[in-house]
Amino acid sequence: MKRYTAALLTLTLAGCGGVTSGAGDDPDKGPVNIAINAWVGYEANAAVIKHLLEEEMGYQVEEKTLKEEVAWQGFETGEVDVIVENWGHEDLKKTYIEEKKVAVEVGPTGNQGVIGWYVPQWMAEQYPDITDWNNLNKYADLFKTSESGDKGQLLDGDPSFVTNDEALVTNLKLDYKVVYSGSEAALIKAAQAATAQRKPLLFYFYEPQWLFSQESYVRVKLPAWTEGCDADPAKVACDYPDYVLDKIASKKFQDTGGDAYTLVKNFSWTNEDQNLVADYITNQGMSADDAAAKWVAEHESVWKPWIPAA
């Protein structure tokens, strides 16, 4: 409603002049716009921050469900104030933080991100040496599917995910073909089916992820990551590094966000905290709001220090 009035106002005021792309958005202390990237761990962060902003600090929060990169574009246009779980994205940081100067880093969320190759628990039990990449070629036949032809299949996820898998397969001389599932949901569904139907599956996955609170998957060891081993994307032959997940805000929000910005800056919790909230959302049928309220009620000592002193 507020934005509607703002748009109306701008339209009348603008008369015959040109208007900029951000026109129509409330210029002063509007709601806090949190981007929601489509995975539950992210939603857990956002829900808790939203709950604290609204219930403890009296702010109004708007959630915007967007793909990661689209959310970054929102910094420029003023549609997005914060991203509350960012995985790397050095290229975007370069574009929006260094070059365009419309975004700023707001520090880590406290969560450690892990990316790697996984197999279902039952496979690790049945073929104990499968979790070492050196043995993957031996088992390639198991992973053949209609999509991988005469090679084994390595199932990847959404196109926006950070991945070196094609280079890894080539450089480690693996007898595998990378098949892109195209979405996180399809990847999770394939993983679930691999457990339920005892179907062999080697797939790209990551933690923290709510699926791990339901079923076990075992990470396959790739050659250890060392500083700089992944510098040239085409020559990568080592595992993924651990990611320090962080928060990104628009420059505007840093300058004018006041206490809301300070809360986002102070927000920092553990993987266990996030998995707990994510578990409430996915496995216990709670809405994100209810899950956040439950966690907040139970963990006052964790979030109390985040609230800026009045």
Partner: protein, 675 residues
């Protein structure tokens, strides 16, 4: 492709059949000799991709500087934001009770009391499903997009009806708008109009406006020349002619155009949730992210209900408009253009409203004028009462029902029990048909494929169609997407064949039995309007992340219109022909194969053509479930900044594939009719 077409055509025309056979032998020989040479391997850094990405960067940099943006694009965004805001404020301002009553009253006046009951029940069901607010958001976006589509589409339709030149320019543009996958223009839309409602409404507009233009043009062209002449000789001016004669007489077609626009818009507003449009799409996307099919199903049901209510409301209104004018647009002409209007979404004109009976009470004692005034007065009264009751923005929490637990249980059971069967089907068809087909297409020299298309086109559809098809192929090569396009083509061809098999079987079944027809209709309606996102995940569980999952999704989506067209074609076979065959001693089987199917050939060919267009629309969705190729390129272009150019080019390549397949099959249909 060649083999299938040859088989399809072979029996009827020996001369043509021989030509096709010779062509097949020559091409097959060429393939065996030259396989693997002059292929165009995929390169993720093709020149065309870079060009589009550069264009994107330019727009990004000039958004707040360039006059085109300052004076046109940004104003458009503001204006649309204003429109959506007003509609949204109006709809949610009425409260749940007010809106339900208003919708019911409107339905009662426009379409009769049965539809009013349906409408009220439908609106209440949104609340019961716990989706009231989301449904109102979706409705607001749909209404905004449809208002714009009609405001722009109707004048364009009038122009296209009056001038062949305008029509010649519009036709290909409309074709592109309909075949271009929505995903492919979501990214450019956010580039121009940023994320949120305005971009969503404009994207929906692009997708939904073609039927508004085409059907209204058709209706106006259908106004009989004698009537127009009579009016002219009575001294009517051009303006009087348009407003007093043409538009009123085309009323039915215009209402039908609105109906089709609504259906298209509804299927699009779900997808625009990906650019932060509010509403049911958001619910579905959240549910997907939790891999909770049941939750997505609830939202899908709300969409289906909304579609059915709006469809019945407008098509019944169209029937009633028809009673006052007695002038239906000619069905055969309506059917010709493939992605056009009615047929594009499978809503066959007149099929929605079985009868237009009014309750006796209303019919008898009052003259028409009084009756109309009375019903309007009643409607206004009802709306005032509803608005006063209001009921607030949220539906009472006490009344709730969700399909989620049941659906999740059923889906789990299906996934576990059917998996061995579906997996086997997938493996057999993939190894036996899909892989060989794809291998032939991707390892043939590109010029051999071009020559084959050209040759086949000339034989089947004439020189012009052949040139258009070959031109489309050349365009794909120029975009740098040959390899991926050939992979997609293989998937699309198999999906089309399966769609036709299922569609013809269902069409024959429903044409033969009114009971089957009535029983299957809601199922077909639901299959068509249920957002594909809802059934994608069970499909992944059954078929794995694979091309075959994409094929399964396309078949579900494309079968309903094919089945409807086949049914109508069979039912339209003149009774005299059937009688003649029966009296000559035909059995039921002979009657079907020797008489009814051959006579219904134009309808069957149209169904094939339509099936292809629908299957193409699902290519991108396939990219989300492991089908790769062009669909994945488009998805990647949307998700990944650096892949923008590739995604956009892939969107264009899908359009070109559509042009190719459309020209070839459409040509076959027209030629046959004139022959």
């Amino acid at each position: 492709m060649t083999a299938a077409t040859a088989a399809l055509r072979g029996g009827w025309r020996p001369g043509r059949g021989t030509l096709v056979a010779v062509l097949v032998v020559v091409v097959a020989g060429g393939y065996l000799l030259l396989r693997g040479r002059a292929t165009l391997p995929h390169d993720n850094d093709a020149a065309a991709f870079r060009m589009f990405t550069d264009l994107r960067d330019w727009v990004d940099a000039n958004r707040d500087v360039n006059p085109v943006f300052l004076f046109v694009v940004n104003y458009l965004r503001l204006g649309v934001a204003l429109l959506v805001g007003s509609v949204q404020a109006l709809l949610s301002g009425l409260g749940w009770a007010g809106l339900t009553v208003t919708a019911g009253a409107l339905a009662a006046v426009l379409a009769g009391w049965r539809i009013a009951v349906l409408t009220v029940a439908g609106f209440l069901s949104f609340g019961v499903l716990g989706l009231w607010a989301a449904s109102v958001d979706t409705l607001a976006l749909t209404v905004s997009a449809v208002l714009l589509a009609v405001a722009i589409g109707l004048p364009l339709g009038v122009l296209a009806a009056r001038s062949d030149r305008v029509r010649a320019v519009l036709d290909p543009v409309l074709d592109v708008m309909q075949i271009m996958p929505a995903f492919a223009y979501l990214a450019p839309m956010t580039l121009l109009f940023l994320i949120g409602e305005p971009a969503s409404v404009l994207a929906t507009l692009i997708y939904a406006i073609p039927p508004a233009i085409r059907i209204s043009a058709l209706g106006i062209r259908g106004v009989s020349a004698t009537t127009v002449e009579a009016a002219t000789s009575a001294g009517a001016t051009r303006r009087q002619l348009l407003c007093g004669v043409r538009l009123p007489m085309a009323r039915r077609a215009i209402v039908l155009a609105v109906n089709q626009t609504i259906m298209m818009a509804l299927s699009m507003v779900v997808i625009t949730a990906l650019i932060d449009a509010p509403g049911l799409g958001q619910v579905i996307i959240r549910a997907l992210e939790r891999v909770n099919v049941g939750l997505a199903f609830d939202a899908g049901v709300a969409i289906v209900v909304m579609a059915i209510v709006l469809d019945r409301l407008t098509s019944r209104a169209a029937d009633r408009a028809d009673r006052t004018t007695h002038h239906p647009p000619s069905g055969a002409d309506a059917a010709r253009r493939p992605p056009s209007g009615a047929e594009a979404t499978g809503q066959v004109p007149g099929d929605a409203g079985a009868g237009t009976r009014w309750p006796r009470l209303w019919r008898r004692p009052w003259p028409a004028g009084v009756r109309r005034r009375l019903s309007w007065a009643g409607a206004v009264l009802a709306v005032v009462v509803g608005a006063l009751v209001n009921g607030g923005p949220e539906f009472p929490e006490a009344v709730r029902w969700s399909f989620a637990p049941v659906v999740n249980d059923v889906v789990r059971w299906i996934e576990l029990t059917l998996y061995p069967v579906t997996d086997a089907v997938k493996n057999v068809l993939t190894a036996g048909v899909l892989n060989p087909l794809q291998a032939v297409l991707t390892t043939s020299p590109f010029w051999l494929v071009l020559a084959a298309v050209l040759g086949l086109g000339v034989v089947v559809s004439g020189v012009r169609a052949a040139l258009a098809g070959a031109g489309a192929l050349a365009g794909i090569a120029a975009l740098g997407l040959w390899q991926h396009a050939m992979e997609t083509l293989a998937t699309v061809l198999l999906a089309t064949v399966l769609t036709l098999l299922a569609g013809v079987a269902l069409g024959v079944l429903t044409a033969g039995s009114d009971l089957a027809s009535r029983g299957l209709r809601p199922v077909l309606d639901a299959a068509q309007t249920m957002p594909s996102f809802v059934y994608l995940l069970p499909a992944v569980a059954l078929f794995g992340a694979s091309r075959f999952t994409a094929i399964a999704a396309s078949v579900i989506y494309a079968v309903p219109p094919v089945a409807r067209l086949v049914e109508r074609g069979l039912r339209d076979v003149p009774g005299t022909v059937v009688e003649a065959a029966l009296s000559a001693g035909s059995t039921r089987t002979q009657l079907l194969w020797k008489v009814r199917l051959p006579v219904a050939r134009p309808a069957l060919l149209l169904a094939a053509n339509q099936g292809i267009v629908m299957v193409l629309a699902m290519v991108v969705v396939g990219g989300l479930v492991g089908a790769g190729a062009l669909g994945y390129d488009v998805v990647a272009g949307f998700a990944q900044r650096s892949d923008f150019g590739r995604g956009f080019a892939a969107g264009l390549a899908i359009v070109l594939l559509g042009v190719l397949l459309d020209r070839l099959t459409q040509g076959a249909g027209t030629e046959r009719k004139s022959a």
